[in-house]
């Protein structure tokens, strides 16, 4: 039951993009087509889960025993940056088709604040353990995907609309994102 609550809360109620404002850059940047949106979601899910597992062990096995929690930001970002490189190299060797699909998105992920954000948030859960952190990370990734793909779908339609001149491009995209966030607010209070 506890896990069900985590999943629902992460995907709908506290959606990472639309209510917590993490990962806005890829949300606005790669949402012009549904297919690239799906590719980005795959890459983010992959890295987010691995990063959360690795940072969880670093926090529990290194930072806390030595009492150097203040080094959290600096260690986590370095770990994530090198992890992304590592994932890229391994994927290239092990699964070329998957690399073809996700490859272009991987370098962009280092500066995706959703990854670092979820890694830090996962450590703040009540009596946290590794299974809970993985479920937490995975459902946030799904929430990211849901928001991104929905938004991309709307933007594909938007290209065919007659938008007022001054609102074209970013402004109209932001207003659409706002309306989407308004729709997600309807989930507030169900958990």
């Amino acid at each position: 039951m506890e896990y069900v609550l985590i999943v629902i809360s992460a995907i709908f109620v506290n959606n990472i993009v639309l209510s917590q404002f993490l990962g806005i850059c890829p949300f606005l940047g790669v949402s012009k087509k549904i297919s690239t949106g799906i590719g980005m979601t795959g890459a983010v899910t992959f890295v987010m889960v691995i990063a959360t597992i690795v940072t969880f062990f670093i926090q529990k096995a290194v930072l806390e025993p030595f009492g150097v929690e203040y080094l959290q930001t600096i260690t986590f970002i370095l770990v994530i940056a090198s992890l992304v490189q590592l994932v890229e190299i391994i994927l290239k060797k092990v699964s070329p088709p998957l690399y073809q699909a996700l490859g272009v998105f991987l370098p962009l992920i280092t500066t995706n604040c959703a990854i670092l954000g979820v890694a830090i948030l996962a450590l703040g859960l009540e009596d946290t353990n590794i299974v809970k952190s993985v479920v937490f990370a995975m459902s946030h990734a799904v929430g990211f995907g849901l928001a991104l793909v929905t938004f991309a779908g709307i933007r594909e339609q938007l290209d065919l609309m007659d938008v007022p001149k001054g609102m074209r491009g970013t402004p109209i995209a932001l207003v659409v994102a706002g309306l989407l966030a308004l729709a997600f607010m309807g989930f507030a209070g169900i958990v």
Binding site: L78, T111, L116
Partner: protein, 195 residues
């Protein structure tokens, strides 16, 4: 390029938020009030100036291939300093900015200036560039924060403009952030075309 242009470009011509669309996460996440926006903007300015300074100093010592990780370590160091200082002296602001303080490290604006400017220019211009871009960012966040605060709760910096009952609550919440920024950018695009 003279130093005044170098400084002032961050405010309008190359404003991080309104023109370059960098650092959108803190822009939307912490601007529910003008004060939070200003606090975040100044914290980012400090990191930006110090990171630009250090990177301009050591740019010749860093091998080209590992420059990005090296820049990230420099930036993360100053973010940690800001985090600890703010926790000690401004605990209220620290509470309300929350997760977004450690996330300054992945703000594309900071890494972007390090890569595009500080790694190619001398110390003096790098500091001025950091100051201009940082204050421009702070200005954008304060404007957006003040706008949302007025529309949402009828206040600016906590001073009442009109009674809170007439405010539109949605502007303080998540959807209002997107909508307010959308219209603000549309307005600025319009002004730019006229000018």
């Amino acid at each position: 390029m003279n130093q005044w242009n170098n400084f002032s470009k961050g405010f309008f011509k190359e404003n991080a938020v309104f023109t370059l669309l960098l650092g959108m996460c803190p822009t939307l996440g912490v601007t529910s009030s003008a004060f939070d926006g200003l606090g975040m903007g100044l914290a980012t300015t400090f990191v930006l100036v110090m990171a630009n300074l250090v990177i301009a100093l050591i740019k010749n010592l860093i091998p080209d291939k590992v420059r990005i990780p090296a820049f990230i370590v420099v930036i993360a160091t100053f973010v940690t300093i800001v985090e600890m200082t703010m926790q000690a002296y401004l605990p209220d602001l620290f509470e309300s900015l929350g997760l977004f303080i450690p996330l300054i490290v992945v703000n594309c604006l900071v890494l972007g200036r390090a890569e595009a400017f500080a790694s190619k220019n001398n110390i003096g211009s790098s500091i001025i560039d950091g100051l201009g871009m940082g204050l421009g960012f702070a200005m954008a966040l304060t404007i957006l924060g003040a706008l949302r605060e007025i529309l949402g709760s009828g206040k600016v910096f906590g001073t009442m403009i009109f009674p809170e009952d007439y405010g539109m609550l949605v502007f303080v919440l998540a959807p209002g952030a997107f909508i307010a920024l959308g219209y603000l950018i549309a307005f600025i695009n319009h002004v730019k075309k006229e000018a």
